[in-house]
């Protein structure tokens, strides 16, 4: 049997490898099913929001009713029935505890099972966690320590009440309310998410992280994250996501906005491991996400790193608006699609300022019957003198029934700009596999080793605490696919 044949066979033998597929049995409170102005009002009331926030949501909802779902991405799915879902679900009686001791032990147990210890004494050294369970934040760690440094790290629902001026000043300024169908939906019904503000000149003393968990059935998760790095500050933020194994598809439509003021730097990392559906394509999360960063001030920098291994459908394009002069945007991505997963992901680098620089490194791996698309735009506007972009997109195919696609858009309107794009598509070389086998490494491990090597440039961008985890995840995602 040839190695290629063997690989294909093993791709077919996907096991039940998703280890986050359990459900937490906890009493939930939900909004009535369906989506209407009343749903929006219900969510806003639940959050105890001020009138301005409700008005903002209602305006978004009105706009959304006139919008149409986009269909340009290379993803195919059953039409989503927006009336047949819950838009708010929260564990009963657990909003915003002052201390972790008050948090429902069932929730603490859930996060422990997910490998996210919330007890501060147990927490990973130097990582503060905001835990979002369905529609609410259930715990935020290290708040006191961060407060000392002047860093605000809290659920966005709390920020709307406690820091209305900051929220009003920045919310919706990077991703406008009417940006796109899913972002507008999110603007109307977002439930929770994280707010971060790093004051002038402050280097955030620890990694910040939000852990998103979908638990309730028939429920969408619509989180909203806003991170503002004031002049000369630095913050590194990481998000992780998991969901139970279910036969239904659940919608996740998040919006993330980043604002970097003069000289500030934001490093945003994602390890996305939503339930991908089973080997027949049943179930899994529909992940429609709008993420955008605005390098608003000169010499600011925004760096996106993503490891996308989960979700039945991924539709996300973390982007950078390089508005200030001498700003830098980066996008490092690993997208793995296996079985019937479909991923359409990439970035936009919009060069508006002078001497702006961007770098895109994308590694796509397709296996099973999955379709994996890189879609990216590099746009240089007339005033962006000396703009520079370098893009490298590599795709790896495992088996002959999957697809790997590359759709780059390169638009330059400045003669001094320089844009370089390179892309390759190939399979795992048979001689590499044989070499590993000859040295006694079993096939499955050999594939994981080679793929991790293929992804290395991206993996090494992740914060140390998560790099090892992500590396294992790459292996596990393919373990499902390659034996």
């Amino acid at each position: 049997m040839s190695v290629a044949h063997e690989t294909k066979k093993q791709v077919a033998e996907i096991g039940e490898k998703y280890k986050y597929g359990f459900v937490t049995d906890i009493e939930m409170e939900r909004a009535p099913k369906g989506l209407s102005e009343d749903t929006v009002k219900y969510i806003s009331a639940k959050k105890g929001e001020p009138q301005w926030m409700l008005d903002w949501r209602l305006a978004a909802f009105k706009r959304w009713l006139e919008m149409r779902e986009p269909n340009w991405a290379r993803v195919h799915y059953q039409k989503i029935d927006y009336q047949n879902a819950y838009y708010y679900a929260a564990p009963k009686n657990t909003p915003l505890k002052q201390s972790l001791d008050e948090v429902d032990p069932k929730l603490l147990e859930t996060y422990k099972k997910l490998g996210i210890p919330l007890h501060e004494q147990m927490a990973l050294a130097g990582v503060a966690v905001d835990a979002v369970f369905d529609s609410v934040s259930v715990a935020t760690t290290f708040k006191a320590k961060l407060n000392e440094a002047g860093v605000i790290f809290c659920p966005i629902s709390e920020a709307i009440r406690d820091y209305p001026d900051l929220v009003k000043k920045y919310l919706g300024t990077v991703v406008p309310v009417s940006d796109n169908f899913f972002a507008t939906l999110n603007s109307a019904v977002f439930s929770d998410g994280t707010f971060v503000y790093v004051p002038k000149g402050v280097r955030c003393p620890m990694e910040l992280s939000t852990y998103f968990r979908i638990n309730a059935s028939e429920t969408g998760q619509f989180e909203r994250t806003l991170i503002v790095a004031d002049e000369g500050s630095f913050v590194s933020y990481l998000e992780g996501c998991t969901a139970p194994k279910r036969d239904e598809n659940q919608l996740h439509a998040a919006v993330v906005e980043l604002v970097a003021l003069e000289g500030a730097e934001i490093k945003y990392s994602t390890v996305q491991n939503w339930y991908p559906g089973d080997e027949n394509g049943l179930g899994g999360i529909y992940n429609f996400v709008t993420k955008r960063g605005d390098c608003r001030g000169d010499r600011s920098k925004i760096s996106w790193t993503q490891v996308e291994t989960g979700s039945a459908i991924t539709w996300k394009y973390p982007s950078c608006i390089l508005r200030g002069d001498d700003t830098v945007g980066e996008f490092y991505s690993i997208a793995i699609a296996n079985n019937f997963q479909q991923a359409d992901t990439g970035t936009k680098m919009i060069h508006l300022g002078r001497n702006t620089r961007s770098r895109i490194i994308s590694k796509g791996i397709s296996a099973g019957k999955a379709q994996n698309t890189y879609r990216g735009l590099v746009s240089v506007h007339p005033k962006a003198s000396n703009a520079r972009n370098y893009t490298q997109c590599d795709s790896l195919l495992i088996g002959g029934k999957c697809g790997a696609h590359t759709v780059p858009y390169i638009e330059s309107r400045n003669p001094t700009a320089r844009i370089e794009h390179e892309a390759t598509t190939s399979k795992i070389a048979e001689d590499q596999l044989f070499y590993c086998l000859q040295r006694g490494i079993p096939q499955e491990e050999a594939v994981a080793l080679i793929v991790n090597g293929f992804c290395k440039e991206v993996l090494q961008q992740l914060p140390m605490e998560f790099a090892v985890e992500a590396q294992k995840l790459v292996g596990i995602s393919l373990e499902g696919s390659v034996g």
Partner: protein, 373 residues
Amino acid sequence: MSSASAHWLDERRALAANRFAALGVPHRRIEDWKYSDLRTAIDGANDDAAASWKIATLPEGIELFDLADVGAAPDWVKAHLGTLPQNAMASSSFAHARTGFAVRVPRNKSAEPLHVTFANAGSARALVVLEDGAALTLCETLVTDGYANLGLEFIVGANAQLTHIRMAPHSAGAVQVEQYAVTVAHDGVYRAHFFNGGAKLSRAELQIALAGANAQAHLSGVSVLGGTAHADITTHITHAVSHTASTQLFKKIAGGKSRAVYQGRITVEQGADKSDSRQTAKALLMGERAEADLKPELEIYADDVKCAHGAAVGDLDANSLFYLRARGIPEAEARNMLVRAFLEEAVDEIADESLRATVWQAVEDALPGAMLP
């Protein structure tokens, strides 16, 4: 004889007309026409006018048929005319055109170069059939003005070789729309070079199917644009079966307020293993208000393939420029040298020396305009 009397033709024309009616004139909100807003450019002009074509001398051994007499078409025309995929505009030209020509190179015949010129405004069609083992060099020149919509179909048989040189010198007021639908049978080769001087809007679209094992397509081209010229080369090569190969090398110079567009899609279908595909598109912007848009796209459904694309937009390499100036070459001259070297790489893909010289002359004629800021 009336041109529209044959049943087979009426049927194909009706299908094309329906397709066009459904699709309409493309505009910038249609993904494939994002960088070429045809609807705005033609502003209501219709496809009923007839563009003219002229073949100065017909080389020995080539059979020519005037599509104006299409009702009396021989079997080989009936077998192929209108059978290859048509985009919206090719559907329109097929439905509307009443002028055009068809040529056939018989089995194992190597013909002398065939020179054809399209002129005036309106629609026209062409069909080129190379039977198995045949060889032909087709030199096509566009001197259209106003709005011309041309649809060409090339059937490249097994072991046949079609070399295609397409010259479109600058024509400020023209809107040139062309679709080239090409199918290449096993061991056949299609080579093409496109020279674009630009027009008000120029769109050349190639739909190439590598339909048999060892079929190959090798495309190259240069766009040398100045003023407000626009030139869009859009290619779609489908590797339908295994062991097929394609290469592309397109170079663009955009001065003034011109706009150079390249969209290239490569599809490798499931099972088309051992396909080899390379694609390079590069643009130099010379004008402060010039624009380059490149979209090199890969669509891969087979794992045992080698596909790579590269694209770059920039200005002249500062180091090279400095090196030349340090050797005493004045800046303007140094820039000229580097620009020529940049374009030469693509023109060098033309094997025939005299054809290469012809294309290079067109480059030289267009360069002064394209070097203006």
